[in-house]
């Protein structure tokens, strides 16, 4: 017997002898497993994560699980979202932790481990798409219309929406939520969030244009503070400020903005189309050119994801209100137009998928591909 083996106490030596485990092949340290005081500890969950999530956790110190009561649980980081599903493991997991290091009994090489939980399942994460539709639903009841705002209706008070409401209920990453709020033109009024009504936005834009010509400002260099002050006739200055920041790009010094040509042109196009069933494309292009100031370029490509062009006509489609279920969305799209090219349908489906492969499988599942005049078209799978 060498010195090391003497470390094992007698009962362990006997056990090893009975088990016919050659002592000389073992390391001198051994562990004794005991059941912990809190066993079974049901408050423990195991969640399987990838390394990027660990980095995120180390950086921001927390991850958030979001959703309303009936939703599945979704884990959100600052830029990604994962669906949480429980998966049973084929083996039983015993979770054991060492007592503090002082419990290492140097004398006989024994380290005590306590088993605190026994687990049969772990939580798994699958990346999924943000579900932003609820944001629209929250806001559409009560859009903001400037000074003539109906929010002071004391008999029917509207629910107040705060950033906390959105961030606890909407299953999306912070980045996705912020970008979407900006896209919708949501502003903060008296500490809660309000959507700017579409027609009110038109009014604001027209007003800005009239100010541009009166004050002789360049559309690429609008002084935010002055402009917002001038706009006080139709809305409070802080609302005007937020709106200016949303439709333009801020200069480096933060004092002026340059109007975003795309946003302005698109707004006018939607203003023309949103209350019509459809319009002849050539007619639409003339009207559009007439209402957008001549120094803003217009191009049908700007309207990708907002309109459907079919047989020489153009019609508006509200992407924000399309179903989040792939089948329903496909049904709606194909009811509006029979065959689509890839680039036409892509903007309407990209919000349902997280990767190219997923996008392709979505198309394969719901459409069939036909080739007409050398061009690929997608048609519904079942008529």
């Amino acid at each position: 017997m060498n010195d090391e083996i003497k470390h094992f106490p007698e009962n362990v030596q006997k056990l090893l002898a009975d088990a016919r485990i050659p002592i000389e092949q073992l390391k001198p340290i051994y562990y004794e497993l005991t059941i912990g005081e809190q066993f079974p500890d049901d408050s423990i969950r195991l969640i399987e994560v990838n390394n990027s999530l660990i980095e995120e956790l180390e950086k921001s110190k927390k991850l958030v699980i979001r959703g309303a009561n009936n939703d599945f649980a979704a884990l959100c980081t600052s830029d990604q979202i994962f669906e949480i599903k429980s998966a049973e493991t084929s083996n039983t997991l015993l979770l054991a932790s060492p007592l503090d290091s002082s419990s290492v009994n140097k004398e006989n090489g024994c380290i005590a481990l306590t088993v605190n939980s026994i687990l049969h399942a772990k939580l798994e994460l699958t990346q999924c798409v943000p579900r932003l539709k609820r944001i629209c639903q929250l806001f559409e009841d009560n859009p903001y219309r400037g000074h003539f705002d109906g929010d002071n209706d004391i008999e029917n008070p509207k629910p107040k929406i705060t950033m906390e409401n959105i961030k606890s209920e909407v299953q999306a990453s912070d980045q996705a939520i912020d970008a979407y709020l900006k896209k919708l033109n949501v502003v903060t009024i008296d500490g809660h969030l309000r959507l700017l009504d579409f027609d009110f936005r038109t009014k604001l834009i027209e007003y800005i244009f009239s100010l541009l010509s009166i004050q002789d400002w360049s559309k690429d260099h609008i002084p935010i503070d002055k402009c917002a002050t001038e706009m006080k006739e139709i809305c409070p200055k802080y609302v005007a400020k937020q709106f200016l920041e949303q439709i333009g790009t801020m200069s480096n010094d933060g004092n002026s903005i340059s109007l975003n040509a795309n946003t302005i042109s698109t707004h006018y196009a939607l203003d023309l189309l949103r209350n019509l069933e459809k319009m002849k494309l050539s007619e639409f292009m003339t009207c559009w050119r007439e209402c957008v100031p001549s120094d803003f370029p217009i191009d049908v490509d700007q309207l990708k994801g907002f309109v459907i062009i079919s047989e020489g006509t153009i019609s508006y489609i509200d992407t924000d209100n399309l179903s989040e279920k792939p089948y329903e969305r496909m049904k709606t799209l194909f009811s509006r137009k029979n065959t689509w090219t890839l680039s036409e349908i892509e903007p309407f489906l990209s919000s349902l998928t997280t990767s190219n492969a997923e996008f392709n499988s979505l198309l394969a599942m719901h459409t069939r591909c036909i080739i007409k005049d050398g061009q690929k078209y997608y048609a519904p799978k079942y008529n």
Partner: protein
Amino acid sequence: MLASNYHVYICDYAAEKQSLSGERVGFLFFTQNDMPVCVIGQHILDGKMVELDKPLLVMRKQQADGTNNTSYQVECVIKRKLLFHKRSKPIVHYSSKKT
């Protein structure tokens, strides 16, 4: 030895017991070439150390603060586990053999 404070032991059969805090489950040894050997009751389990493809976070549910918010405290990250995947071998006592 393990990166985390916790070790995970996977047994091919459930070594479950009724709640018996303080009760000894068994002993764990390591051979000179780092293979784990676990002795539980009359069973000898040979296993191996496995690096996890995806790490596991150990989360503990916190008492809800009365509102709708529930939080989980992440206690540690598990990167390796001990996997006992082979069928257990029984211990045959010398003493019983002799008699």
